[in-house]
Symmetry: D3
Subunit: 171 residues, 6 copies
């Protein structure tokens, strides 16, 4: 039994994540998916709650060939403790898949094997790009799995992002 | 689509939880299972990590007729905010199943419908009772689903509980 | 201009507090009333929210001869920082009225003058006693100012206390 | 009895706030004024403590036609919990007055009615503008109610802001 | 270069600690001494601040044959993260000396070697016992190194403990 | 007995710090050195843990003429409480040496004497400058005491800084 770990903020979950997870599914028996910054929502960079992200991920992966766990992980705000924090919240895993330099460094220093997954259409399959398109009224739906569009409709997600983006000129 | 919420500390997950969840599975389309006090472990009342509890629950419910989510929920330590905290970490649900008076009160004040599930062999299907038996070397394995015994074996759970129970006489 | 500080948890506000504040009103120009453990509610020892306690106090003191401020103060959980915390949340004051040994010690170590107010019918004008009477269905309304009874009616306070006092036998 | 809620950081309290509160006073029976980011002080954007801000507001509103509460509210740092946090610290209110897009969104999602108050001389009646003028030695006293000038004198507020604005070139 | 770690709350530092550290000094090249619950003070079980405890320890060990570090360590309140927390606050060490069952368990699970030091006059060389004697006016000075008596005199430590032990009958 | 306090983040400890401490050593009997932002590590501005910084400082000051304490101090994130926090973690001191405007202001408001130490080669003896040189492969070793080079070698410090500086293009 080999278990792999993959973490992201999934704001929102998109085709790039989906592609990576489909590749990982070919290499391990089970996948543990961590939702980072779980306690943050309703901000420009993190508009959606952990629960909403659980829903996006679970529905999009309904047909995945390998079993997976979706685990919200709150920020611990201390890098030196972060790996222990992740390990305490997740079923034990054998390796971590990540391209994030800090994540790679922290797991490596902790002695957990790390593998960088192949990416897919990096420029557009990106949370930053998709949130920008949502704000500017540009095309974004084809960059995310169809179930994500449904979840965002249900929670009125694009309107939320646009409203909190308004500036009232005060600081 | 009707979703039900059930929360516990699952220290450890036992036949009483299993029975309740099997009953709930007959009444809803999906179950959201919250693991309370997720950040606490290695204490007499809370010996197991959230990740270990995720594993116990997921394996025990492998044959459940209805889809379920298992979500670790860290303590927020402010009762007046706890329902919002739970709601932010979970997919939206329609009703909460609980017999805990505080949980019942908090969800009721927040306007979420609450239902008290039927219990099963209350006296022995109890985390307190099972931890006591583990400590005293009494029979406990038949009080939990078989996969929980496997998980506890893998993580050396009973030895952990016994070691932290030792008293070194200092305070 | 002489300002005095008085702090309590006010769970609930009662005739003992009212008596003390009426005495203090004779000695200072303005009173700063701190509501301690402001973030705690819905527990046996702290059933009411800070906002509910603000209401009880403000209404009960409507006829007080001297101006007052009612300030919720969250626990800081570090005694050595507590006086600084209080000072940062309140308008500046000249002396503190308190009989609580820890409060007396902390303000004294910080160089703030402390005075112990005369008490009134200590045995029954006590939060512990009043909550016990609420739980046991005994007479309590004559131990609190009339506006407190109104507030507790509005928020269904006694029912809340009784519900969270129920025991479901689990730990 | 109709109660309205208004929140700001009041760094410092100025004529713009005063104007808005005078308008709200015509529409409700009582006003609850929340002081946001209550725990923050001695920074460029938040130079004054909650207690200092309580004083500025209370003195400036001494002649207001309608009763008001001034409540320091510490940041909870989780947007999804913020409305519950505010509600737990304040007497119950019927509607919220705010032009801040995030505040509007959060109360709206929580089902609390929100009304955007008319503004007054937006460009100069602004905390950002007033702090900038204090730093640069420009005219600012006519932008705040007279009692605010007194409070800032008492606490040596402008000197504090200028001192923490100095740069020692290190990061 | 071999470095050993020893942790305690040192409320107060006593002859038992001194004896253990003198034994450890014979076995390692440097000692890292962690002061646990560093942020807690002014309570019955933890009367003294971290800074006061730094002073007691450093002065008592002035003649120790081996170099040592004294490091205040704040509680992290999550057992699964505690070893990482300790490791981030201390110079790297090769083994931990402890008789505390939880400390032993946590370091062992983290793969850090643990050794139980020989104790010295366990019954009286105990923080609990010494605080009890201070409260009851019994002999305690001969149970601690002479410099600890000096520090406690300077900070008025016994009077502090006695004052916070007074009961004002309220909860 | 005169004790002086000096605080920095020491990311890393460099010749500028060393120079200042050698000057302070001529003016006081003991020095208390506070390591600020102790809980932060593995970031671009704060790459090293508190324990690593304890090691850099202690080894570099091995030959200092006056005794010193090295105390990690976690951020308290509330400026109004920061001085009390520092005082609770450190042995009592008589004056603070600092050029940081906020530190100067906070200690001054708290009534603690502050003295600005003479600086040494400000432009290059700077944490910001040294971290930049580490990142860009420029000369930095002669800007820090020799023992700091050794510590950074042992902990693979420059490689850590470079790895976390990599950009994966996602936010």
């Amino acid at each position: 039994m080999k278990r792999g770990f993959y973490i992201g903020r999934f704001q929102p979950y998109h085709e790039g994540h989906q592609y990576v997870l489909e590749q990982i599914a070919k290499e391990v028996d089970e996948i543990v998916i961590g939702i980072g910054s779980a306690e943050i929502s309703h901000t420009l960079d993190n508009p959606f709650t952990a629960g909403e992200r659980v829903l996006m991920i679970t529905r999009s992966l309904a047909g995945l060939s390998c079993p997976f766990y979706v685990i919200p992980i709150e920020d611990i705000k201390r890098n030196a403790l972060w790996v222990s924090h992740v390990l305490s919240m997740t079923p034990p895993f054998d390796l971590c898949y990540s391209s994030n330099p800090l994540v790679v460094r922290l797991f490596t220093e902790a002695g957990v094997p790390v593998k960088s997954p192949a990416m897919y259409e990096r420029r557009t399959r990106s949370g930053t790009e998709i949130r920008k398109r949502m704000l500017n009224g540009k095309v974004w739906k084809r960059l995310v799995p169809a179930p994500v569009v449904d979840v965002l409709d249900e929670i009125d997600g694009v309107a939320r992002l646009r409203q909190i983006a308004r500036d009232d000129g005060e600081a």
